[in-house]
Symmetry: C2
Subunit: 143 residues, 2 copies
């Protein structure tokens, strides 16, 4: 059961990054829970609340990013209140990003690193996004 939940949460999480990469706002919208207030904190920004506002923020982000690719590392999932009968999943991952204006030359790419905490809620047997919080990682921050 825990494994099935983990796999399902990982799939929804991956789909969120796929949606950003492909600029697929319909896919993005389909991943969010309908019965909880959506909350989104983009890197360096203040919280955005409510499904329509969150959807709009993703559409704007997609429109402003020419090319972006995510390599997710250190993906971990915790289930709350406990693993036996989980209602909520808390996933953290490192977002290693490659972005650029075009794909014609290597020089146009820039890299970036952020960490995300993504919250999922079980809704009609399906895991859905309830919150996304992404923040930049400072280089050489490790002690």
């Amino acid at each position: 059961m825990a494994d099935r939940n983990t796999e399902a949460v990982l799939a929804v999480n991956q789909a969120m990054y796929d949606a950003i990469e492909t600029g697929d706002i319909d896919l993005m919208n389909s991943l969010w829970a309908a019965r909880s207030e959506a909350i989104c904190i983009h890197p360096g920004a203040e919280p955005i609340r409510g499904g329509s506002q969150v959807s709009r923020s993703w559409a704007m982000l997609m429109a402003n990013v020419g090319y972006i690719q995510f390599f997710l590392t250190d993906v971990t999932v915790s289930f709350l209140p406990h693993a036996e009968r989980p209602q909520v999943a808390y996933l953290t991952c490192t977002e290693n990003m490659l972005s650029g204006e075009g794909v014609d030359s290597v020089e146009s790419f820039t890299g970036g690193k952020a960490v995300a905490s993504n919250v999922f809620v079980l809704e009609d047997e399906h895991w859905k996004l309830a919150a996304h919080h992404s923040s930049p990682v400072a280089v050489q921050e490790e002690q």
Copy 2:
């Protein structure tokens, strides 16, 4: 019921910032859930996992901050999976910080602004911290 839960979550959240301000690591440790893996993402840093590692990170933070005061604004709490029988609380707030080496002169103070998403889980009828994610807010980020 929802009001009682909201009040309880707000009290634990405030106690977390009180613990940082007063450097009270025992208070901080008492606020975290025992039965879920603690996860902490400090501003600009990568996730720290596990109760002892999280506690150590707070102790180091308290040791390195001479003086710090938090003014919390835009505090909102959502309950998951739903408000009627909540198991998990997701709180977001803006952390307006005033910090400095000492309190002797106004010049020694510096300000800062971050947003936090704090996750609480109901454990033996008490709301306990399960995760804390704080990230810096870029000035003039708003559109």
